[in-house]
């Protein structure tokens, strides 16, 4: 069992190692089958008023999904992820300050329909997924939300997005939300997640105030992080937050306190991989200020 991350790990420059990430990030050791994660970015996905350009976002999603499953286009990719006759639940996030963009929800839904799933068998929900019939009967789930920091869990990503499947959300809060990985082993969820989309169009790297939101800490990164493994996707998301925080807030605030749930989702709950060396990380598109 690894010791808890402490302030001294930052002083020693060893924080990443304690979190499960290594200095060999991005190197292909080529021995074990890796979790593939794709980062797709486009400099023109936001217009001059910071509004999302739907057509560009659709292209980004298609490129990322195609690369993820070795297909040539988005429709082909989604045909590998979901099948006709299925019931698909798209677990979104409606947090008022930084929700999943409707443009991204509709881009995903469009490709699920293109893959042959009937529109009336596609659910889109956040707070009522436990009782929504389309989620109760879902055979596949798609996990989509923006990346941001969180007072308690350190980071809100694809793992934490499933907290609405829990009977009691506060029960997941102790010890920096250490048990969030258990959500993926719930009967309503287990084995059903086909795609994770961590929206990093405008991620939030720090928070202030009661709602942990302050627009000063949101930046236009203009990307999507896409994978099938929520732990691998969140591990890349955490690296991005750490890189931005190190740049703006300094080395001592590099890690948002305390994202222990990501490593534990791997080591305690076995739902994915947090070891950066076991992640095949592919970058597509614009590389300005890419940070990772």
């Amino acid at each position: 069992m690894k010791p808890a991350l402490t302030r001294r790990d930052f002083l020693a420059g060893a924080a990443a190692a304690v979190l499960g990430a290594s200095l060999g990030f991005g190197q292909d050791k080529g021995v074990v089958k890796k979790s593939r994660v794709v980062l797709a970015r486009r400099s023109d996905v936001l217009d001059e008023n910071s509004q999302i350009r739907q057509d560009i976002l659709q292209e980004m999603l298609d490129e990322a999904a195609a690369k993820l499953v070795d297909e040539t286009d988005g429709v082909g990719a989604f045909r590998k992820l979901v099948r006709p006759g299925e019931t698909v639940g798209i677990k979104t996030n409606v947090w008022s300050f930084l929700p999943t963009p409707p443009e991204l929800e509709s881009a995903i839904k469009r490709r699920v329909v293109d893959a042959g799933v009937a529109p009336d068998r596609i659910g889109l929900d956040d707070h009522t997924v436990r009782t929504n019939p389309l989620f109760v009967h879902a055979t596949s789930l798609i996990d989509v939300r923006p990346l941001r920091t969180h007072y308690l869990a350190g980071m809100s990503g694809c793992i934490k997005n499933y907290i609405m499947f829990a009977e009691s959300q506060p029960a997941l809060h102790p010890d920096s939300c250490a048990a969030l990985g258990s959500l993926f082993n719930l009967p309503q969820v287990k084995g059903k997640t086909r795609l994770c989309v961590l929206c990093v169009l405008t991620p939030q790297f720090h928070g202030r105030g009661p709602h942990h939101f302050d627009r000063r800490y949101v930046w236009p990164y203009k990307g999507l992080i896409v994978g099938r493994d929520p732990v691998a996707v969140d591990s890349i998301g955490l690296r991005l937050l750490m890189a931005k925080r190190r740049l703006v807030l300094g080395k001592e605030q590099e890690v948002p306190p305390v994202p222990k749930h990501i490593r534990l989702a791997d080591t305690r709950y076995g739902i994915g991989t947090s070891d950066i060396n076991a992640i095949e990380f592919i970058k597509l598109g614009w590389d300005g200020d890419i940070l990772i």
Binding site: P3, R7, H150, L152, G209, P210, F213, D214, R215
Partner: protein
């Protein structure tokens, strides 16, 4: 006879509580203006308690639940161009707790609203009496920020008299203290968001502990940090020190002193049911002097 007097006193206290300024949060729906300049109250006022807070705050609930939060009263104001202000008034049960809520989150400069305040990026926070208040603008731009400040100044008028800071703040050595950086809290979640120490709760902090975290001017613009924790009894303080040394400072000897990787010194010292921890000290003597200057209460 005695029982009748007790009832009379209780009734008088309840009357004062309900009808004096700073009474129950539901009164704010009547007393706080629904129009401030170009901004008008929109939607129903809402009230949340310790159980329902999770439906309102994603991520911040535990930060306030770690204090003696009683209720939140919330109202939205709609402004030009579809923009929005969110007013949240937290009844923290006591002035000490209200000060604590503000003190853990004041990286921005003061704004001159309420007893103490902090403002930046369209986000205003202040405390007054037993209330902690925040006004959040959806856009974060300067004009909305001015409206947030106007709203805050109006709200202060309805919160009742000022209150006192926690007595532990008075225990801090005053020389070189940065008063605006002093924080008061109880739990590990507040400490870690203020000054990250460990991913585990190695100091055994919970709602039974009272903590003050303070910064002191050091050489070259750097800061030395003092964490003062009051435990329910001396045994718990000693156990927490032992846990801290094992988890954070294993190389420390009996004195509880060791040098960290950045060449700065850390000292953990017991005083009855208090634990004082100095971080980032330039020298062992500097750490010892800071602890020696703490004005621990007489037994």
């Amino acid at each position: 006879m005695l029982r009748a007097k007790v009832w009379l006193l209780a009734a008088a206290g309840l009357t004062l509580f309900i009808f004096s300024p700073g009474g129950p949060v539901t009164d704010f729906g009547q007393t706080i203006p629904k129009t401030i300049g170009d901004w008008t109250a929109s939607g129903p006022d809402r009230t949340f308690n310790r159980q329902t807070i999770y439906s309102y705050m994603d991520g911040g609930a535990e930060v306030y639940l770690a204090f003696d939060l009683r209720q939140i009263w919330s109202r939205k104001y709609a402004g030009p161009g579809g923009r929005e202000l969110t007013l949240d008034i937290f009844d923290m049960s006591s002035p000490e707790e209200a000060f604590g809520a503000l003190s853990c989150d004041r990286e921005d400069p003061p704004a001159g609203v309420g007893q103490e305040s902090t403002y930046g990026g369209g986000l205003l926070r202040f405390w007054q009496g037993r209330y902690f208040v925040s006004v959040t603008s959806s856009s974060g731009d300067e004009s909305d920020g001015r409206a947030a400040l106007d709203l805050g100044r109006e709200v202060v008028k309805h919160l009742g008299p000022a209150g006192a800071k926690p007595e532990m703040v008075g225990f801090l050595p005053e020389a070189s203290l940065r008063p605006a950086r002093t924080s008061y809290f109880h739990g590990a979640v507040n400490l870690n968001n203020r000054f990250f120490v460990s991913g585990d709760n190695i100091l055994h902090l919970d709602r039974s502990t009272d903590c003050v975290f303070a910064e002191y001017d050091a050489e070259a613009g750097e800061a030395e940090d003092l964490l003062l924790v009051r435990y329910p009894d001396a045994g718990k303080a000693a156990a927490a020190r032992q846990s801290f040394l094992a988890g954070y400072l294993p190389e420390a000897g009996a004195e509880g002193l060791a040098q960290a990787e950045n060449k700065k010194w850390v000292l953990a010292a017991l005083h009855g049911n208090y634990l004082a921890v100095v971080f980032e000290a330039a020298s062992p003597d500097g750490a010892r002097k800071l602890v020696a200057a703490v004005k621990f209460p007489e037994k």
